[in-house]
Symmetry: C2
DNA sequence: ATCGCTGCAAAAATTTTGCAGGTAA
DNA sequence: TTACCTGCAAAATTTTTGCAGCGAT
C-alpha cells in the first residue's frame, strides 16, 4: 500500500524565484510581499497571519496587508492553509510544481510540529468518493499527541 | 487492514438520558441546555454555535449561553468539535460510552455532509507515534469533494 | 438556601473593507 | 502613466467576560 504523497525536501526556494512567480502572474513585487515570502521560506512549519506579523519588524508590514497578501498567495496556490483545530489558520509556502499536500503531528501541550510523510491511501479515498458519488475528493489529515519533551 | 472505528447508529439518545448525564455530573438541567441537547440529538451532522442559535426560537436561548453550554458539553465529552476548514467550529452530540471518533465527506459547493465509516489505520497511527516518540496520538481526518447534485 | 446558570451588554479578538496616497512595471 | 498595493482607521464578525438576578436542586 502506497501513500500518494512523500515527504518533500525542506531546502527553501530562493526569494528571487518566489517573487518571479508573482511577477509571472502579473502581481507586483512589493516590500511587504517580499518580507512575508522571505519569512515563510525560512519556516518549516505553518504560521498564522498574526505570527507572521509579530515576526516581522513593525515597519515592514501592516497586519491588514498580511491578510490581503496571504489571501492572494493562497489564491495563486503559493501558500497552503492548515488547520490544527485551535481555530487559527496557519499557512505554509508551497514549492513550485508541488501541491503542498502533507500532514503534521502536533504536540497538544507545547504546539511543536513534526511533518509527516505518510498519507491516507489513495485507493481508500477513491473508494469513498465512488461510494458516495462525489467528485474531486481530497482530504485533510492531522495528528495530535504529546511530544517526547512534554511527556 | 481494519479501521479502528465503525459507523455508529444514528438512533438518537433520548433527551431524558442526555439530561441525566448532566445531572450525574452535578450540572443543572436548564431550559437552554435542554433546548440545545434536544436540537443536537435530532441532527445527523455537526452544527455551529450560530446555527444552533438560529435554529432555536429566540426566546429559548441567548447566543452567549450557547457558547457557554457548548464549552461545558465539550469538556464533559458529550459533544465533539469538528472542523471543516472554513474557520467555523461545528459540534455533534457524542453517544454515551462512545468517543465520537469518525469522519465526514463534505461538499465544497453546497456544504452537505456525509458520514464516513472508514478511518485511518491504527497501525499506521501507532507507527507514526512511535517514530517520533509521541504519546496519546489521535488524528482528525475529513474529506472534501463535490457531491452528486452539485456536479 | 445555595450556588450555578442566564440574559444583557460591554469588551476583546479576529478578519474585512473604504479610501487616499504611493509605487512597481 | 496606470493599475495595483499599502497604511490607517473604521466596520463587521466572532468569541469571551462581568454582573446582577433567577432558578434547579
Amino acid at each position: 500500500m502506497k501513500a500518494h504523497c512523500d515527504a518533500h525536501s525542506h531546502r527553501p526556494e530562493s526569494l528571487a524565484d518566489l517573487t518571479e512567480r508573482l511577477r509571472a502572474r502579473a502581481r507586483k513585487v512589493t516590500g511587504p510581499r517580499q518580507a512575508i515570502l522571505d519569512l515563510l521560506r525560512r519556516q518549516r512549519h505553518p504560521l498564522s497571519n498574526r505570527e507572521i506579523w509579530r515576526a516581522l519588524p513593525p515597519s515592514d508590514c501592516n497586519l491588514a496587508t498580511i491578510y490581503r497578501a496571504i489571501h492572494l498567495l493562497e489564491r495563486l496556490g503559493m501558500v497552503k492553509r492548515f488547520d490544527f483545530g485551535d481555530g487559527v489558520a496557519r499557512f505554509e509556502l508551497v514549492r513550485e510544481g508541488d501541491d503542498g499536500h502533507h500532514h503534521h503531528l502536533v504536540c497538544t501541550v507545547c504546539a511543536s510540529v513534526v511533518e509527516i510523510a505518510d498519507c491516507f491511501p489513495v485507493e481508500w479515498e477513491r473508494q469513498i468518493a465512488k461510494e458516495h458519488g462525489f467528485g474531486s475528493v481530497t482530504h485533510k489529515l492531522e495528528f495530535f499527541g504529546v511530544c517526547p519533551q512534554c511527556q
